[in-house]
Symmetry: C2
Amino acid sequence: MALEQVDAYLEKHRDHFEAQLKDLIRIPSVSAQPDHDPDTQRAATFVRDDLAAIGLKAELISTQRHPLVYAEWLGAPGQPTLLVYGHYDVQPPEPLEPWLSPPFEPTIRDGNLYARGATDDKGQMFTHLKAAQAWLKATGSLPVNVKFLIEGEEEIGGVNLEAYVAEHRDRLACDYAVISDTSQFAPGMPAITYGLKGLAYFEIHVQGANRDLHSGTYGGAVANPLNALATILASLKGADGKIRIEGFYDAVKPLEDWERAEFARMPFSEAEFQADLAVPSLVGEEGYTTLERKWARPTCDVHGLFGGYSGPGPKTVLPCKAGAKLSFRLVPDQDPKTVGELFRAHVRKFTPPGVSVEVITQQGAPAVLVSVDSPGFRAAVRAIEAGFGTKPVFIREGGSIPVVGLLKQHLKVDTLLLGWGQNDDNMHGPNEKFSLADFHRGIKAGAHLLEELANEPA
Amino acid sequence: MALEQVDAYLEKHRDHFEAQLKDLIRIPSVSAQPDHDPDTQRAATFVRDDLAAIGLKAELISTQRHPLVYAEWLGAPGQPTLLVYGHYDVQPPEPLEPWLSPPFEPTIRDGNLYARGATDDKGQMFTHLKAAQAWLKATGSLPVNVKFLIEGEEEIGGVNLEAYVAEHRDRLACDYAVISDTSQFAPGMPAITYGLKGLAYFEIHVQGANRDLHSGTYGGAVANPLNALATILASLKGADGKIRIEGFYDAVKPLEDWERAEFARMPFSEAEFQADLAVPSLVGEEGYTTLERKWARPTCDVHGLFGGYSGPGPKTVLPCKAGAKLSFRLVPDQDPKTVGELFRAHVRKFTPPGVSVEVITQQGAPAVLVSVDSPGFRAAVRAIEAGFGTKPVFIREGGSIPVVGLLKQHLKVDTLLLGWGQNDDNMHGPNEKFSLADFHRGIKAGAHLLEELANEPA
């Protein structure tokens, strides 16, 4: 009866929910770029105000960087408590040229909403606000207790969330956590993600001489930091796709047989995957399928290279500095700190003579693997079936959501990773998008999750 | 008698010459950057006007890019003809942060004039204008015939000079060419450069997927063009400092015994060289000294790296494009075209799977080696002794001056490379400088060269 009222409310407010989401997306809350600090503040305020309007007790929590939003509704004594985590910050939109519509002007094409943050994570996060709104507005209460913790430093691996969670275990105490910041397996195949990769992100700086030099006058006699950087980076991976850092694989937990069998059963076409990306061939670690590589094997990717002259025309400079951003995606049970130590030792060993090197850690989070047989999972399966009309598959993900490990560590809860996105949503690239149909399905699944959790003993 | 008048004129006009040079340097004639096209035009006009004011028949010659300046004085029938080459264009000033004074605001510190173009080549080129001026203003004529050819595309390896020289052999016909665009061996040790390295400059573009991707979702399954670029670049040179491109050394002419002996006698301190650059160690090709590496062995330097995200904070993108600028400095008898073919074959061989690569040739010039025993060299030795108070040493140079090969090819003349600069002038880097004392010594040597050439049978 209550659920019917909720479903009716959702149906009636589709346009309004979309308009609200667009307003949120228009705020360019790029957490990595200090120029946008006023925008992250605005986005946080927007989320706080919306939670308050829905009927939760909501507040902004200042940090040394971007504020947290916290809200709660605790009117269901005796019922379990669900903590919803999300983030209102977004990746930098650069490079701008490939965007077909401006990154912060949400534009609908073919039923998809295109904008930075559409799926990661504004659109997905917002579904849980609207689910709570439907219950509170249509029935006056929620079936379970709900807490929202929405941060603004997810894309920069900020430390303020962790500090807050560690210091407020009582306030944040819960039975389940839910995050929608992942993807379905494919359109029409909603998924619950039971494994995530961890991340160890570094910046490496190579210094040669104390000034830029003429490559004719000095070349051949003085180390070139750009050549040296290439040597260091090239040493990280072999032609077999294996990472060559000594000890890197020591803690890696092998894929279990049931997982490899499950992955192999997924309707995944390597040919289509390759054609979609228009790459001459797929590559990766020998002995593993593409899904296994994506989901369950550690990786090493360079994210940015810089140094010297990259303007028009030739410039024959022997630059004094070069640098790169790179990260390792980690799997259970790799520890980001240990990987950092192994990486630094490797860099020391492979740095050519004549330059000095500095390695800066920019982000670190362990991988996550949770049980697929728990009360929360069972509730989530039924909620997704209600929202999407089909049972979810259980998958792993190559992305990293550091907060999952953090909630486990400090609050002792496993997180339900209910992804409403699609793999081709371009989460961190140009033309990021989110299916509006999935937006509404996600809201409905979120609303039903509250009911289903009330039916499961925590 | 005439020479005394010339010397007196030079002495009297020191301040005026410096002021004129500053005016020329203030024009930011960066040939590589189209934004500065009006400035290259202005610099060309400045040089043309000054040559006309001195008393030469001077004109601007339009090209498809930056204009040439040509001027002549042919009032010494029966006497040899000297062609002065120089360039009014300059390297980009970037990076701007390390400059202690603005790159296009000439500033004197410790007797040095600091500015982009101070030594390369505005300051050095200008000495020959002032030498001619002294003769014409003080005595009404020059001892030999003189032609000036000053271009604006030296720093971008422009093709317009070559086209002009090839089509105007009669007009440019001469007995000697002189260029001041090199360095002394050390302060107080003026040098004539008898060998120059050639250059083969390339840009390499690596393409992965058709769009930027999330490194978590796609990493490990799709080739990363930044990692691939590092692999390609790292393959170019071995730990022994040898370039690993097959066939690269085939055409390399070994250093002669007298040269190695001569170089070894130069007062060159590897320890001081290292200390000046503040590098942890000197590096280079095994089996050669630093001077041999700098002057007479081929090299490979990366000039710029680009691709992915290099802004603040971590961004977990798997970029779809990466690129680099790099060049090989060549020695006799390497051919830039052949080197280009060998390089392309090497890149094809070492490109990892999953990406496509494009190599673009941006500049090419062969190395130069001329006889140290010729009438022009003898005249130059005496002229430098007059200007600098000491005999020059004979050296080779790691830099490339493509026009030297071009003048040889089309006009059949060897070039006198009379360098007034210093090795630490930061020709292509921030805080480029030129000693004002050497500026005036160079003018005097240039003026005496005109007299000495009249005394040597061509």
